[in-house]
Amino acid sequence: MKKLLFILVLMTSWAVSAAQENVAQDTASVASACHASSVGGDRLEEALDKAAEETDEHKFDIKETIFEHLGDGYGWEVPFNHHKRIPLPVIVWGKDGLHVFSSSRVTHGDEYVDGDATFKIATEGDYKGKIVEIIDGKEYKPWDFSITKNVCAIFIACIVVLLLLIQLARWHKKNPFKAPRKMTGAIEAIVEFIYAGVIKPTLKEKSAKFAPYLLTAFFFIFFMNLLGLIVVFPGGANVTGNIAVTMVLAIMTFVMTNVFGTKVYWKEIFWPDVPIWLKCPLPIMQLIEVFGIFTKPAALTVRLFANMMGGHMIVLILTLLIFIFAGAGVAIASGTAAISVAFSVFMLLIDVLVSFIQAYVFTMLSTIFISLAQAEHEEHGAHGDAHSAAAHASETSK
């Protein structure tokens, strides 16, 4: 494990030094706005007019900036600099085969020529922001398998979860009857919270069969959410705010519920216990049930995606408020800065709570869906229970 950590530190330091090769400054426009505002109260009107002009430009920049931070990219941002990025490999399958190159070759609108093919990041049109191949002046989208920021963040979250949980498993193998302490103990407490609190009460006998998937989903989502809140390199990627990622997680739950569903479950969907006119000439109940199979993962997707993206977007907008008000006078700007920073910190703290709650709700709902799909033949059992309960009640009341 120490070797893994060492390699990770080496890679990080290499990446940061590679990103420091180029220098670029972009704060010129904001700096000039601040200059204009600090001239004096007499010139406030002039400053406001100038700021209004620049806020018009900034209005477009604001949408761009927000979506740039919330979305995916081909390099990883370095803090305190808008233009340097840690380059990540771009892996595309163009018309003539596989091309692998560093994303630093296509930053800032450069074109990269590799053999016969030319690649660049499209700046407008359908493929805006993505790598396109230029053949005869037209843009084609190749098969894109690049390690983008979100993919790299998924790898990092996987490594973190594996490190923590494999350590826990190894402790229990080495010290069979002792309780772990410190970090391992904390991870065990969380595992116990989910297993004894959510999985065992709902699934009862079948907990051991589904617990690996459910606990993996919980820890994966929890750590991806938390890493998205850290601002610097290993974190800062809004992974769960990407609907593709949450959709795949929901598809995993969909697969787990339906592939392992019992015969009783499928019978309840395709021939439920309802009056015949709801089933036979027009399959109304069947349609509703099949629709229900698909809406549950869809709800899981959108809930996790919207919560995480919403949290990040609010923090981003609060921070960008400072730049919007930057040209409107020193007092307003500093007041806005103070309030905005305080509110951003508050929202980030709430986001930590929301990360845990959303991971917990995802796991809990997956557990409930799986338990519903594991329904056994209960009719006679239920009647039997009711009869025996009534018999008991009448006996005890005598």
Binding site: K63, G197, A299, V302, R303, F305, A306, N307, G310, I357, Q358, Y360, V361, M364
Partner: protein
Amino acid sequence: MLAMILAAVEALLGLGASVAAGIAAIAAGIGIGKIGASAMEAIARQPEAAGDIRSNMIVIAALIEGVALFAVIVCILALFV
């Protein structure tokens, strides 16, 4: 005049999205407020069960918030897509 208003599509999109997001916020507020109220009453009646009640309250609040965020996603789609 109606034609003039209907021609300002972008402004209408913005207006519709903002009003809808506001309604979603009101609805989420009412729902979670009711959950909070009944949770408070339940804790007052039986203080030993406070831990259980609190966990269930947080889970149900997350579910209600999910529904409100579906509406917010639709608003964002209307504004930007």
